[in-house]
């Protein structure tokens, strides 16, 4: 019940952004420009081809634009609010997470929930606009739409746990910026943020199947555009669910260990 009572913790990051109109304008501008650029690029690439890597022009553009919109679901700016774990470790304010009756794990999860709900509102609005303008195609059938939504939810859960893992690393290494950068980049590249994974060489795609990143975005978007057929959807959803369970168990274990590491500076 403490979860319900601490609902305000969920809106920390969105509220911080709402208090900073310049930041919201910047985000809006970036989204619009990104969508235009990305749609143009893929149109341009497909000028002389009708299909590549099993994706048609429309599929590729839809995928790319949806990936841009999904960026709102993937990363909200905690850094500006000095609310990232690494900043808390740096300033020593992480102690307060352990002084409250709300367990740090629950606070972290609540906060992420709020961010994703807020991001989803943005993404949905953007989706509606793009659909109206015709930049993205609607899903082929209601079944596809349904499967997509389930896959997206699972993907978000996987993503949350991956980000949580990155945050938890901060409890162990103070100077871990390099490792984190590698993971963040790998995470973006292998999720299909930069380009659908289907375009990458075979070895790259095989490598991706062993990592959870492609489950966060590539799977749901591929289902949406139809690159993954409905008949294969069940298998993909199962893999996503598997990652959720695995990562959840691992991060839960890490939370317990992390608590022992909150030995901030000072004597």
């Amino acid at each position: 019940m403490a979860v319900l009572h601490a609902w305000r913790a969920a809106r920390v990051t969105p509220l911080g952004e709402l208090h900073a109109p310049p930041r919201m304008t910047a985000v809006l501008v970036r989204l619009v420009v990104q969508v235009v650029l990305v749609a143009s690029l893929w149109s341009g690439l497909y000028a002389n081809t009708s299909s590549s890597a099993g994706m048609s022009r429309e599929q590729a553009i839809t995928y790319a634009v949806l990936a841009v919109l999904a960026s709102r679901l993937r990363e909200l700016d905690q850094y500006a609010g000095r609310d990232t774990v690494i900043q808390h470790m740096h300033f020593g304010t992480i102690v307060y997470w352990y002084l409250r009756p709300l367990p740090p794990a629950r606070y972290h999860a609540l906060r992420a929930l709020g961010e994703q709900v807020y991001g989803a509102a943005w993404a949905l609005a953007g989706y509606a606009v793009c659909l109206a303008v015709g930049v993205v195609e609607p899903p082929r059938s209601a079944a596809v739409a349904g499967v997509f939504v389930v896959s997206l939810l699972l993907g978000q859960l996987v993503l949350y746990h991956v980000m949580l893992l990155l945050d938890q690393m901060c409890f162990w290494t103070v100077r871990n910026s390099a490792a984190m950068l590698i993971l963040i980049f790998a995470q973006n590249l292998m999720s299909g943020v930069y380009a659908p994974l289907w375009f990458f060489p075979e070895w790259f795609r095989t490598l991706s199947t062993f990592l959870p990143f492609q489950a966060t975005l590539n799977v749901p978007l591929s289902l949406y555009v139809g690159r993954i057929r409905l008949s294969d959807a069940g298998e993909q959803l199962a893999i996503q669910a598997g990652w959720v369970v695995l990562l959840h168990l691992f991060t839960r274990f890490l939370w317990r260990r992390a608590a022992r590491r909150v030995i901030s500076q000072g004597g």
């Binding site: 009572h5 601490a6 305000r8 000095r82 020593g92 102690v95 307060y96 002084l99 409250r100």
Partner: protein, 335 residues
Amino acid sequence: MIGSIEVRGLSRTFNTTVRRPGFTGALRSLVNPERVVKHAVSDISFDVAPGELLALLGPNGAGKSTTIKILTGILTPTSGEARVAGVVPYEERERNARNIGAVFGQRTQLWWDLPVKESFAILRDIYDVPKAEHAARLKEFDEILELSAFWDTRVRHLSLGQRVRCDLAAALLHDPMVVFLDEPTIGMDVVVKEQVREFLRHQVEQRGRTVLLTTHDMTEVERLAERVVLINHGRLVLDGTLDEIRRKYGSTWQVRATLADAHTDVVPPPGITVLRQDGPQVVFGPDGADAPTVHQALKAVIERYEVTGVAIDEADLEDVMRAAYVHAGPAGEGA
């Protein structure tokens, strides 16, 4: 007992690895690291009664922060036991969290990007404080701390003094019985310091909260603390009321005299020694175990010399504590 702190034989050691110097040393450290055991806290025992304000003193690195971290439930002791308001903090962290409030000097628990009031609202939610109670308490804090002037401002725009006042309010929002303050007034100006002290006094006297205060500011100790615990090198070195300590270590005094004749050969009376001499200005101090009191010394100096000006200085708390630190010695024994 409600709102009391009990510490029995608390010890905490840390295992750290020491890096060997040089390149080969670094390689060896990777394979065969040298482990060093650091005794942050060794066998500390003390009590704080409900409604008491205890000052926890000690030089930097003495183990004060470690002690507070154990009492707030963040660290588990290697041996010994502690109880805060009847709860063992490191075993029942969440239950303990409801009973305590904490302010750690330079670190804020407020949300950087949000208005202060919003941080208060979040904390109210987390601690399940009823709305009416919350409003009443904020009003009470506002009276002394003058928060309403800036509680709509985002935390990033607050000055240090404003922020610490807000942190104090945030720590007490849920009406904790026990409050831990780790150098709360460090770096603040005199006016705000006084405000904070008044606030703390009010909380202890009117509301009966138990406060454990760490500080380097002796004025603060003088104005607020009834009892003092001195920790050095992880060991408890002193535990007593201010009066007791003064009586034990506050025997230093100074008599500053301006002699009429600058060239007088100054041979001080028995039990008195010359600490400094600068022309006609002479500073006398106590000498040995049979030194007189400051008033007797004053009388002796005036009787022996012709003085045009004289002043006496009784030991202030800083001198007393310095004497106590020195007396305690690096080994930590003796008190």
